[in-house]
């Protein structure tokens, strides 16, 4: 079950490259851009003629929407090409189908198969034992690491659009629990081999955040939680970063409320603009707000930096995310080192 992969003991923290890492798990607070950045990472990791697989586990068809293709079936499909002949595949895992598939191979269901679907047992089982979903999903992810559905060739990278910060640790650690429950047998063997993959150097968990209080707090919390259960934390992906327009000097003046009113008025006059107090005050007010925001962001950045993980900054794209935006974000990740693993 465990792919015979070169193991790297610890994910190295050198400038954002992840040699040896093939499984990139992307988590983060809800709405921060997990799906978007997981997709961008899959594109980045496919560039230069590689092949990556992007896996969706929450059944929302977010990937299809992002790449502008029809809803994905429960099968690996090519959804995009990347620079230099790379290929991005995607898989939207259907939990019930995956569960049936699993039971079929492990237990040779026969007649019971009919009853399972018919009586709503699958629905029942995944509801009453939410961990079961996670067992199935993590199992499918590890299966994807071994080779593609179509030709069995290995993907250079597998990227998972994972559950949000509140649930990701439980999601990734579920097999630990299972191994604890099942003393012997195929279930335990599988659980153990999945945990081995997740804890190895081929796995890395990236956290998406924004420079705001709640996402940063959740990032700090989840990093501690992941470390606590021995899972390798990868990079911190800071999304929707807005570059300050004002120079550092102007920002400092604005922050200390010392912008020179008279000079500003003179400047406005030189440009042939109105120099009324209303205009000057408004401009100064905007600058002060911007400076406050920058100061707050600096505090969040410091909190994130204290985690000691490489950070990546992804620009806020004012027009929203279309295919072009996705490639732009992928390029930003590559520039900062993410797409270069193993090269």
């Amino acid at each position: 079950m465990v792919p015979d992969e070169v193991r790297v003991e610890d994910v190295p923290s050198d400038p954002g490259h992840w040699p040896g890492a093939r499984l990139h798990v992307v988590t983060g607070k809800g709405g921060t851009g997990k799906t978007t950045l997981a997709a961008a990472a899959a594109v980045a990791l496919a560039s230069g003629g590689r092949r990556s697989l992007l896996i969706e586990v929450e059944g929302r068809q977010g990937i299809a929407q992002l790449f502008g293709c029809p809803p994905l079936p429960y099968a690996e499909r090519r959804v995009a090409v990347a620079r230099g002949g790379g290929e991005v595949y995607a898989l939207a895992v259907d939990v019930e189908d995956a569960l049936l598939e699993y039971l079929q191979t492990v237990y040779h269901l026969g007649r019971a198969r009919w009853a399972l679907g018919r009586l709503g047992l699958l629905d029942f089982a995944t509801t009453i034992a939410p961990g079961l979903r996670d067992v199935i999903l993590t199992g499918r992810i590890c299966q994807a690491l071994q080779g593609s559905q179509s030709d069995g060739a290995r993907y250079d990278a597998v990227v998972v659009d994972a559950p949000p910060t509140g649930r990701v640790a439980r999601f990734l650690n579920v097999n630990q629990q299972v191994a604890g429950l099942a003393r012997v047998g195929p279930v335990r063997d599988q659980a153990e081999s999945i945990m081995e993959v997740l804890r190895s150097g081929q796995t890395t968990v990236h956290v998406v955040t924004l420079l705001e209080e709640m996402p940063t707090q959740e990032t700090v919390d989840v990093v501690a939680e992941l470390r606590g259960i021995g899972l390798p934390v990868g990079g911190v992906l800071i999304n929707m970063v807005r570059k300050p327009v004002l120079s550092a000097g102007d920002l400092i003046q604005a922050q200390s409320r010392q912008l020179p009113r008279a000079e500003i008025a003179t400047g406005l006059a030189a440009a042939g603009l109105p120099t009324s107090a209303a205009v000057v005050d408004a401009l100064i007010g905007e600058a002060v707000d911007a400076a406050d925001r920058v100061a707050l962001e600096a505090a969040e950045r410091a909190a994130l930096a204290s985690l000691g993980r490489p950070t990546y900054e992804l620009p806020w794209l004012a027009e929203g995310i279309d295919l072009g935006g996705l490639y732009e974000l992928a390029a930003a990740l590559t520039d900062q080192g993410l797409g270069m693993s193993g090269s």
Partner: protein
């Protein structure tokens, strides 16, 4: 033309007893709920705010530090209008436990609470949080009306869970309900009931196969646990369900109103539109839409284009007079260029936000709408909430 949403009219209306704040995750539901509650309390109402997942600093400002799943008074509010404000933060698991305790004997409750499947469902079933928010709302309403002559609260403001979809709040309770009505559950529980035998016979082939499989997959002990859990749920679920139905009915009562919160972004507004349509379908009363975190610029008559043009012109001027020495900048040109460029960026965002809000309004001409400006920092204290409250009116 779209009417303006004025929350003062809402909180000034004694007939309104429940305000529910809905929306997609991260748009500002919790902030809006807290701001509304505070404003209502300071205008003289006796308010309780049920928050679900407040940001840490906001929770501290509201005094939500002891998490005992009951409302506590918020200090620091202006009580000169005769009002009061209590706040609480939902503890989902605890609420579920309380429901179990309320609907079964002490002995049985203990058995259920210890059951591993109960523990899994009560802490992580997708929808438990929504379900429990509704349960808590029902409890608060009962508590409020315990003494009709002297109600403890005359207004309940409810925040909703941070689901990806606002619709989850309305759908989740039904989902839990339909799960418990599932065919498989009925089969598992059928032998316990009179008349269940015939039913079980019809399905016995399937059930035996399933039981065998389950035993194989889960082991005998687990199967046992499942059956205990399901049987326990079944006996207490009647009352349980009745309460949820009652609370759901409360939501369509004329004393309840919904406020939908959205961010000025395409996706968030689309989500809001779904929700608005859904409320309409369910005949649930909608007060209006809050478009939160709107960018605003205030320099009169200074459009993005004009500011940018002027900045360029100044730059040219500066270059002509340039001696290469940055200090030679005559009369504040550099700083003015910076401010104008920044203004242009802000003005452009503000214009986009405005146009998104307008487009929503055009598509929903009857829905009252109010815009709340983006503060430069987080909203984490009573003053911040007051500012949001003022923008809502």
């Amino acid at each position: 033309m779209t009417p303006a949403l004025n929350v003062d009219a809402l909180i000034g209306d004694p007939q309104i007893r429940i305000i529910v704040c809905c929306g997609a995750g991260g748009v500002g539901k919790t902030t809006t709920a807290a701001a509304l509650g505070l404003r209502a309390a300071e205008s003289g109402r006796h308010v309780v705010v049920l928050t679900i997942d407040p940001a840490r600093r906001l929770a501290q400002s509201l005094g939500l530090t002891t998490l005992d799943n009951t409302p506590r008074p918020v200090s620091g509010i202006d009580e000169s209008g005769g009002g009061s404000l209590d706040a609480m933060m939902l503890d989902m698991k605890r609420t579920f436990d309380e429901v179990v305790e309320a609907h079964s004997t002490a002995e049985k409750a203990e058995q259920i609470l210890a059951n591993p499947f109960y523990q899994a469902v009560s802490s992580s079933f997708a929808g438990t949080q929504e379900y429990m928010a509704m349960e808590k709302l029902g409890q608060l309403r009962l508590e409020a009306d315990r003494d009709p002559d002297n109600p403890r609260w005359d207004l309940i403001v409810v925040d909703t869970p941070p689901s990806r979809s606002a619709l989850d709040f309305l759908d989740a309770p039904k989902r839990l309900g339909s799960f418990l009505d599932g065919r498989f559950i009925r089969i598992l529980t059928a032998p316990a009931k009179v008349g269940g035998r015939a039913y079980i016979k019809v399905f016995s082939v399937g059930v035996n196969a399933v039981t065998k499989t389950l035993t194989k997959v889960l082991g005998g002990q687990m199967l046992n646990d499942v059956q205990t859990f399901v049987a326990a749920l079944d006996t207490m679920f009647g009352g349980f369900r009745k309460r949820a139905d009652h609370t759901y009915a409360l939501l369509s009562d004329s004393s309840t109103t919904f406020i939908v919160v959205a961010a000025p972004e395409r996706d968030a507004l689309r989500e809001a539109a779904y929700f608005v349509d859904r409320l309409d379908e369910e005949e649930m009363p909608l007060a209006g839409l809050v478009v939160n975190r709107m960018y605003r610029v205030s320099a009169p008559g200074l459009s993005a284009a004009r500011a940018l043009g002027a900045a360029e012109e100044l730059g040219d001027l500066d270059n002509c007079g340039g001696s290469g020495d940055t200090d030679s900048d005559f009369g504040g040109t550099a700083i003015t260029i910076g401010l104008l460029r920044m203004h242009a960026v802000q003005a452009e965002i503000a214009a986009r936000h405005e146009s998104l809000a307008k487009r929503f309004a055009a598509g929903h001409p009857d829905i009252p709408l109010v815009e709340v400006p983006a503060a430069s920092g987080d909203i984490h204290d009573l003053d911040g909430l007051r500012a949001v409250g003022a923008a809502l009116a």
